[in-house]
Each structure stands twice: as C-alpha cells, then as structure tokens.
Assembly symmetry: C2
Homo-oligomer: 300 residues x 2
C-alpha cells in the first residue's frame, strides 16, 4: 500500500568528535523514504534547488521511491543543515541552517499522492502540515513529526494540527517542551489529551515510548557499538514504523507495536554510518534478522 511522505530534502554537514562529512544527502523526507522503502512503496514530496544532482533522484528511484513530487525550484538552493554531535553521540548542536527553497515551499499533492492511504507529515510548520492534510483526501492514517521551533512560535496551529492527525511522533525534549512537564510518562499522556490518537516519544539511544488511550509502553533502542552519525535516526524510525504499517495495511494496537519495533531496528542501522551509507548496504532480510534478534532480546 503506497505511503506518502512530505518533508525536507537536505544537504547535511555533520561533525562528530572523530569525523566529519560535508554536503551529504539528508533531510526528513529522504531518511524517511529510504527507511520505509524496505517495507512498502513510497511517494515523496519535497523541494530542492538547482544544485540538486540528478544522481540522488536516480538513487531514490532505484529504491522504488516515487520522486515525481520532488520539485526543483528554478534559481533556488537546496536546504542546508550543519550540526555537531557531543561526545555522547546522542546530543547535538545546530551550527548553521539555510532554509533556502524550504522557506517558501508550499507542497502540492498530485492525484497519485492524494490516493495514498498512509501519510507522514515530516517536520514542517504546522500551517504547512495542515495544508497538506487538507489535500490528502484519502489518508486513513496520518502521522506527523514536529520540532521545538513550532512548539515555541506556532503553538496554536500545532494545537489545531493535533486535533486532526492520528499520531504524533516527536523527541523527548520536544515532548517535555510541548507538555511543559519533565516526566515523559506524564508528558505523553498530556500530549495525547491534545488530540492525537497516539503519541510516540523518541528518546534517541534510549528508545521510544508509545501512548494511546488504552496502552503505554517503552521500547529500548537496539544496542549498537558502532554509532558514527545519529543524523536521520528519528526519520528512519518513523520510516520503518510507517513503512511496516503501510505494508500490512493495518494500524491496530498490535500492528503499531510491531511497527515501533521495525522503526527501532531500522534506525539502529542508520546510526552505524553517515548519511544513507549504512542503509544503502542493507536489504530487507538484514532488517528482518535484526528484528528477530530484537524480539529475542526483549523476551524472558
């Protein structure tokens, strides 16, 4: 079942305590799509500038990702992000952000996009996310990400969005900020009270928490000793999660729990190398093998 993602496409500059990469492929839509492509067909909407190399498009297409919604803005430049990871490789600081083409980007859904029953709204302003939601007429499962910026400057619009989506995926710091509560268990319940049917709080190396009216659980991250670059882990998590749901065409509680596990496992590969480097060496059987190990790890 095709899965639609609307999000950012970026060139990332990543610095870690021991290494760095400049101008590597990144962005929420890219990581999400690539991760989801192991599970289901993906249609991607985003904007890039004239500096976008055609090879990137081919690479995504080869993974079965429909890039017909990838708009090349004449005279524009692709979004750029530069960040630096602290020695713990979990926390990071943003050094530079150039929105470039993302500054004025208003995603337009074509007919093939409007067909999709599964929709992921990557991090964008709630106003833009609401506009996409309105266009996605056939979406049966709508899940959004957000970030601290929007919680701080567009809280009302975010509140409106939360009333209209099924699921919200956000990280621990964002959840604390949104709920104004340092306790993540309470924060999750508070956010649930803002409208969505479920909330997923991503805790980086510490895993993820799930909240719905009837359920609350925590899943640890899959432990890996090779953490080269955590960039994109959160979007890969969402991609694995939504990809699994789209592949089985269901989103009941059991499907959602399995989906969180697939998201966890997919993200654990992403951090093992820069950009998409690790995912590019992956096939579905390797994801399934790690999923099996993860399930085994948690049974006693």
């Amino acid at each position: 079942m095709p899965l639609l993602v609307v999000g950012s496409v970026a060139f990332d500059c990543v610095e870690t305590p021991t290494d760095r990469r400049d101008d590597v492929l990144g962005g929420s839509a890219v990581f999400f799509s690539y991760a989801a492509s192991f599970f289901s067909p993906v249609r991607m909407i985003g904007a890039v500038g004239e500096d976008w190399p055609a090879e990137h498009t081919s690479m995504l297409e080869q993974k079965g990702i429909d890039t017909s919604g990838l708009q090349i803005i004449p005279g524009g430049k692709t979004f750029r992000w530069r960040g630096r990871y602290l020695p713990n490789m979990n926390d990071r600081e943003t050094i530079e952000v150039h929105l470039n083409v993302l500054d004025e980007f208003q995603p337009k859904l074509g007919a093939s996009h409007q067909d999709c029953r599964f929709l992921f709204l990557g991090n964008a302003s709630p106003a833009v996310q609401l506009d996409v939601l309105k266009q996605a007429k056939n979406a049966e499962l709508t899940v959004a990400d957000t970030m601290d910026l929007w919680i701080n400057i567009q809280r009302d619009e975010l509140g409106e969005l939360l009333q209209k989506i099924d699921g919200l995926v956000l990280n621990d710091a964002e959840a604390k900020l949104l709920a104004e509560d340092e306790n993540l268990v309470r924060a999750g319940h508070t956010i649930l009270g803002m409208g969505p049917k479920f909330v997923v709080i991503k805790k980086g190396e510490h895993g993820a928490m799930f909240f719905s009216e009837h359920e609350m659980y925590v899943m640890p991250a899959f432990p890996t000793e090779k953490v080269l670059d955590p960039t994109g882990a959160g979007d890969s998590f969402a991609g694995g999660m939504m990809g699994h749901l789209a592949s089985i065409g269901r989103f009941d509680p059991q499907a959602l729990k399995e989906a969180l596990a697939y998201g966890t496992v997919t993200a654990s590969f992403t951090v093992e190398d820069f950009s998409l480097d690790r995912l590019e060496k992956l096939d579905r059987s390797m994801v399934d093998q790690r999923f099996k190990e993860y399930r085994q790890m948690l049974s006693f």
Copy 2:
C-alpha cells in the same frame, strides 16, 4: 536460599524540585535488603552509630531480614548523605556526605554469613570488598557495585576485585568512566574484559544493559509517572535481581535475564515515594503483577 549483603546504612536528606525529606532511612544495604526480602531471606552486614533507632532494626527484622550483622559502633554516628535532584529527576548532586562510622568499618562475617551462597557487595572501597570476598568462603555467586570515587582513587584494587567476582553492577556514568568510553555498548564489553563474568549497567530512567561473553541486551525501565525520589532505585534493582536469583538458587543466562526484569520492576516501585515508603506498602503479589505487565509490555 539466604542472600548476604554487605553495604551502607544511612540517614538520607533528599531534596527534589517539589519536596524534601530529612534523616530518612537509606543506604545501599537497606534498600538492597528490603527489595530482596520480597524474594528470599536476607542477611545484612553494616554499621550504624548510637543515633540509630531500634525501630528501624525491628522494621527490617519484620521483613525477614537478619540484622545480626548490623553493628552499632559505640560513640559513633550513622553515615549521612544529603542530595538534590535536578528537575529531570534522573540526575542529582551530592551536597553533603558524612561517612561517620563507615570511615573505619571493617565488616566481619559470622558463621551464618559465611554460609551464604549468594553475596552482594554494596558500594564500598574495593579494598573492603576484597576483604569481605575473602571471608565469604561459600559464596557461589558474587556480585559487586562500585562508584566513581573508587574508579578514580583505587583503580588497581578495583581491577583486582573485578578478577575475583562474578558480576559487576554499576551506573552508566561509572561505566563510561571505568571503560573510558562514551559508548555504553563498547564500555560494557570493555569492563567484561576486566574480569567479571557479567556486567550490568544501570541507566536510571532509561533501564539497564546486560553483558556476558555470549549475550548483550537492554531492558527499559518500567515507566511510571509518579517519580517522587529515585534514591535507592539502583540498590533496589540489585536487591530484586539478587533476591530472585537466590530464591531460585540458579544464575544461568535465563535466570539472570528474569532477575534483571525483577530488579527493574522492584526499582520502579522504590522511586514512587521517598525512602522505603513505597516498598513498605508492597507485597509480593504486587511485584509479580507489575512483572507480568512488564513482560507483556515487551512482547510484540
């Protein structure tokens, strides 16, 4: 099967962002013993001063904890610790420590203590822990805790201890310090290489990690929205873990994994109130009920 613990007995002064308690019962041997007592008979060795109220001894005895090894030092004062929790309720700072009777305490094992096949060495100097280990002639499973102070000032003695014990339980910051590695997965393996048969890294609200020659896994903390005081959670974890092992008289890989789950669940109660207040309202069936929920939470 009786379980022996040698550790501290303390009066704690605990400050949280919203509350505080002065001179409440604490210490590694106290939390450990109380937690373990839900599972198996416990024999406790420790030292207190003349300021120790007899009611505390009675309370522990009523839980089936053998306090014959609790020495009252004439003219001495009980160990005191004062700490303050940060708003995240996971990190804390120590404001005051008065070792008092612990300064010169040399634990002596009586015949009933030497009989014990399961031994937990609560946090103390490695030199003292080594001396206890030598006396515990019949111990078949020996597990120790440690702290940053000893890693910094008695690394050689700690290294000797690690060659002689079966398991080491320590927190994430201590593991990073001991292994000189910010990645906990690598750190766990490095510490394993220092001698013990298994290593457990406690990550507070983020759960625990287990390392042995053949296995490595992570278990999340049991999520609770009521965190009033995390003091003693680590010792309660160790108590639940060792208590379960002593109760079944085994420490094979499956037993250890279940034991970590019991430790996790027991600690999740401790944080729900100050000192032993929550544990005092608990019975074994409530521990088992939460254990069941925890297992359910992790199955998908």
